[in-house]
């Protein structure tokens, strides 16, 4: 598992190196283009702020009332059957439905249990390894005018389930 740990260490430096040297090689004004691109980051953040306010308030209310603890307690049997920490279970359901809602939930879980806790690492891995299935399918099939999506949803949810199971498994293996 040393390999996976060193992959994590070298990934970002490698990306910097490859992107910057390709840019320079192709005569791109690297700094100017960087600044222009960075401006796009501000737009992205401004776009996610309103949904984040709405969703973090909903999660905050849900957690403070004790409802979240009740939900976590209720799904405990299913979670332990699958070997998933029950604190991560709400994310399993929310992730395919909404990207911003799962972003809010992940940040709430990480704040509550700590980023370096086992649950914190598992939800980080889950968040990074899956996509918002329902949203993507709606946009793409909708744009092409497809009504009958056949087996797409089943196959996508199957891949999602695999990523959940593997997330827990690999975090146990790497971080123990």
């Amino acid at each position: 598992m040393e390999i996976i740990r060193s992959l994590s260490v070298y990934a970002i430096p490698a990306v910097f190196l490859v992107i910057l040297s390709t840019g320079l090689y192709r005569n791109v004004k690297v700094y100017d283009v960087f600044v222009d691109g960075a401006r796009e980051g501000i737009t992205t953040i401004i776009r996610i702020l309103p949904p984040l306010v709405g969703l973090l308030v909903a999660i905050g209310v849900f957690r403070a009332s004790g409802a979240l603890d009740m939900l976590i307690y209720a799904v405990k049997p299913v979670a332990s059957l699958l070997g998933i920490p029950s604190e991560a279970m709400p994310l399993v359901f929310l992730r395919p439905i909404s990207g911003s809602a799962s972003l809010a939930l992940v940040s709430d879980i990480i704040k509550t249990y700590g980023p370096d806790s086992f649950v914190g690492r598992v939800v980080s891995t889950m968040m990074g390894s899956t996509e918002t299935i329902f949203y993507t399918l709606t946009i793409y099939f909708g744009s092409a005018g497809i009504k009958n999506i056949r087996y797409t949803l089943i196959a996508a949810l199957f891949a999602d389930a695999v990523s959940v199971i593997v997330s827990v498994w690999i975090c146990t293996l790497v971080f123990g």
């Binding site: 390709t22 283009v33 909404s98 980023p115 990074g128 497809i146």
Partner: protein
């Protein structure tokens, strides 16, 4: 769907809060969370700008096109129904590479173009083709090179090592992608069997 979930969480939260006698805590949580959303967004701002800036260079330098050229042969195997020179394949490849690099803004228009090109090859206009199903399953399970948002959240919560999850994310999404491909291929095979 999110409308109902959002509504449900808030209403259930307040009702259970009243039942548990925690209504003041719940009210305080609502107001604090709004504040926290702003703090989180500001915390994400720096790394987001860093990342989109870096990806801007990748786009301008032709790195995206270069990677697309390398992975094209692999994608021929995944999309046997798309003719070799058809523009649909190009759009599919570019979308998947843009997704891989985390170029969200560039990926969506490319994906929509890929869908409309594949629709031109479709003989049953309101039913998805095998190529479309494969494309969307790849799109929803695809690997991301650097999961920037997750790293940013971990960093704002003072993780001692925000990037330590990159490796585990790669393993989990690689397994998901393989599982998705196998599932689609199996469905494809059984659909062809039924036609016969």
């Amino acid at each position: 769907m999110l409308n109902y979930i959002w509504f449900g969480m808030i209403i259930i939260g307040f009702v259970i809060g009243i039942m548990n006698g925690r209504i003041e805590t719940v009210t305080k949580a609502a107001i604090d969370s709004a504040q926290k959303a702003v703090e989180l967004s500001i915390g994400l701002l720096g790394i987001m700008c860093l990342w989109t800036g870096l990806m801007g260079i990748a786009e301008k330098s032709g790195l995206v096109q270069y990677i697309a050229r390398i992975v094209r042969p692999i994608l021929r195997f995944l999309f046997p129904d798309i003719p070799k020179k058809h523009p649909a394949l190009g759009a599919v490849v570019m979308n998947l590479v843009a997704n891989f690099l985390g170029l969200g803004n560039a990926a969506t228009p490319l994906g929509l173009k890929a869908m409309s090109e594949m629709q031109k090859l479709n003989t049953t206009k309101n039913t998805a083709t095998d190529a479309m199903c494969m494309f969307l399953v790849l799109n929803t399970s695809a690997i991301q090179l650097i999961p920037a948002t997750v790293i940013a959240i971990r960093q704002t919560s003072n993780s001692s090592n925000p990037t330590e999850v990159i490796g585990t994310i790669w393993v989990a999404s690689a397994c998901a992608t393989i599982a998705g491909i196998v599932a689609v291929k199996l469905f494809m095979a059984s659909a062809k069997e039924r036609v016969r």
